[in-house]
Amino acid sequence: MESLIGGLVAAPLLGAAVLLTGGRRLDRSGHWLGTALAGLSFVFAAVLFFDMLGKDAEERTLTSHLFSWVPVEGFQADVAFQLDQLSMTFVLLVTSVGSLIHLYSVGYMAHDERRRRFFGYLNLFMGAMLLLVLADNYLLLYVGWEGVGLASFLLIGFWQHKPSAATAAKKAFIVNRVGDVGLAIAIFLMFTTFGSFAFSAVLDEQVAAGAGQATLTGIGLMLLLAACGKSAQVPLQSWLGDAMEGPTPVSALIHAATMVTAGVYLVVRSADIFNLTPDAQLVVTIVGAASLLFGAFVACAKDDIKKSLAGSTMSQIGYMMLAAGLGPIGYVFAIMHLVTHGFFKAGLFLGAGSVMHAMNDEVDMRRYGALRRHMPVTFVTFGLAYLAIIGFPGLSGFFSKDEIIYAAFAKGGTQGWILGGVTLLGAALTAYYMTRMMLLTFFGEKRWQPDAAGREPHPHEAPRVMTIPMIVLAVGSVGAGAYFSLGERFAHWLEPVTGLGHEEAPLSHGMVSLAATAVMLIGVAGAWAQYGRRPVPLVAPAGRWVTRAARRDLLQDDFNHAVLVRPGNYLTRGLVYVDHKLVDGVVNGTAAAFGGLSGRLRRVQNGFARSYAVSMFGGAAVLVAATLLMRAV
């Protein structure tokens, strides 16, 4: 069984190697090879999962030591895997959603001449992501962390002939780099404090308690910084919206379901550290709450369907982050929401991709309308995922989100009320922006416009290879929540890894569900009043300052520009000036001085025999004079 873990990671990495080095002869079969290897990885995962189910809860952790990577005295870096319930959850999510999206991409990228390369990158991403969640130490996790960052960069910029895509890829890479520095520092701190970065050595309540409070808080905050970069949380959120420049399957797989949740994984995995440092936990909840509202506001204002979904992703990950910051009462529900979100958000993105496919790659929702009759499968699957994300009673989002809202109230005191209020407000906003998206896309009047080349859109249902993944994900969106919540199945599954805390909230579960449903209905009604009853203008009205700010991503880019980019530019310009004037000045000045001096000296050699004779006679005269002078003295 242990050796299967290696195979799990190796299958997609092998696919990436073959597809990226195989050349043109794989152009016609490469996409099926990539999909098959992703599917193989899923089969391995399923085998391991059923094997794990057969064991007792406490004995489910599998470890697999591959080889010693850097065996140095006092510094042991191993390539070793650890498969416990938390990793298993991620492995199943990554391989199942990943395989479905591979399948979908076969249809979506059918007309792209670089499809083979696309599948190579997708496989690379899956391998790196599995490495990330299976690593048994932070250094190997870092390798996977960088690997998914690389794959994300390559896939966002997949259409690099578009300057906007190339820029977006660079932006994502650079913003992620800030977070990666945090992870690196956290690993350094662990090594200096504990002498190791293996999970088994660091993640132990007693070992961690041996370190100082300040050190633990430092490690926690650095891990959080890393999580913010990868998961697009405030203040490193700015890359996610632009990342939508990539092909839509990429947005579904990497920027909705899996990679962006790596930050949540990191925080939950490091639970033993965060449990001991309330300060860092508080910062995690604040970051989560801020991102939750930030993303929701942005999603409400965007007309670009993918950017609106990106805002929604950020907001939903804010929920997870907030739950992860609540400690043992929240970890389980953070992961549960992560899984259900993986299903319905991937489904939403695939639906959006299907719509774009039908509408000549138009992304402006104001130019959709009335698509439900033309694309029934997309409409139904998108609609089910929509009901799941807004928390319609009985569907996935309802269960996972209500648990987070309840846990937020259970935090207790003023903080509990504030966090609970924020999560409820977020639920209302979620309902609003998702209903808006639904109404603009599938209901109302046709507002179709010819594209830049003058072609009228002729919407049609996507091919079967694209609709099947959407249907499967829709089933997951509907059923996963209820399945997980029945008898607290998911909580008991994860409990051995993350622990499970019970706190009494000032509101009962029933009241929380009632309140969540009520605010959801308010959000739906608000969107209906604005976009369902009235005709939708083709060009967005100017709006108030709040709307305008939200359309500009709440001025995140302006902020980054003013605070980071411009001072950075001035600094580099200043340094270049100093370099040119001072450093180059000294060097060039020295050279010029010697050059000038030798120029003067050269004049002495004028080629006139008589002037040489003068110097000879002069020299002789000086010698004679000196001799006489010495005699006289």
């Binding site: 050269r602 050699q605 004028n606 080629g607 006139f608 025999a609 008589r610 004779a613 003068v614 006679f617």
Partner: protein, 99 residues
């Protein structure tokens, strides 16, 4: 007549020769001035020989004469070649080594 007067004459001739070398441009004249300086030195050597009462100075004078004769042969040949190629015997024209 004291031998010192010969020394004064020698110094005078040497100075005239040196000034000629420095001032004149014609290679032949410069050449003759160099001969003048050599012979001024010969005169001094012979005068010293007389003053000290031995033959060392005179022997040295013979050496100088031999060297001067050889020098005349080579020097005149160079000057003739120079004149042929450049149609001038001015020492200032032969300044090709200058940049």
């Amino acid at each position: 007549m004291s031998p010192e007067n010969y020394l004064y004459l020698s110094a005078l001739l040497f100075t005239i020769g040196a000034c000629g070398v420095l001032i004149r441009r014609n290679a032949i004249v410069v050449f003759m001035c160099i001969e003048l300086m050599l012979n001024a030195a010969n005169l001094a050597l012979v005068a010293f020989s007389r003053m000290h009462g031995n033959l060392d100075g005179q022997i040295a004078a013979f050496f100088v004469m031999v060297v001067a004769a050889a020098e005349v042969v080579v020097g005149l040949a160079i000057i003739v070649m120079l004149y042929r190629s450049r149609h001038s015997a001015s020492v200032d024209d032969a300044s090709l080594m200058k940049l």
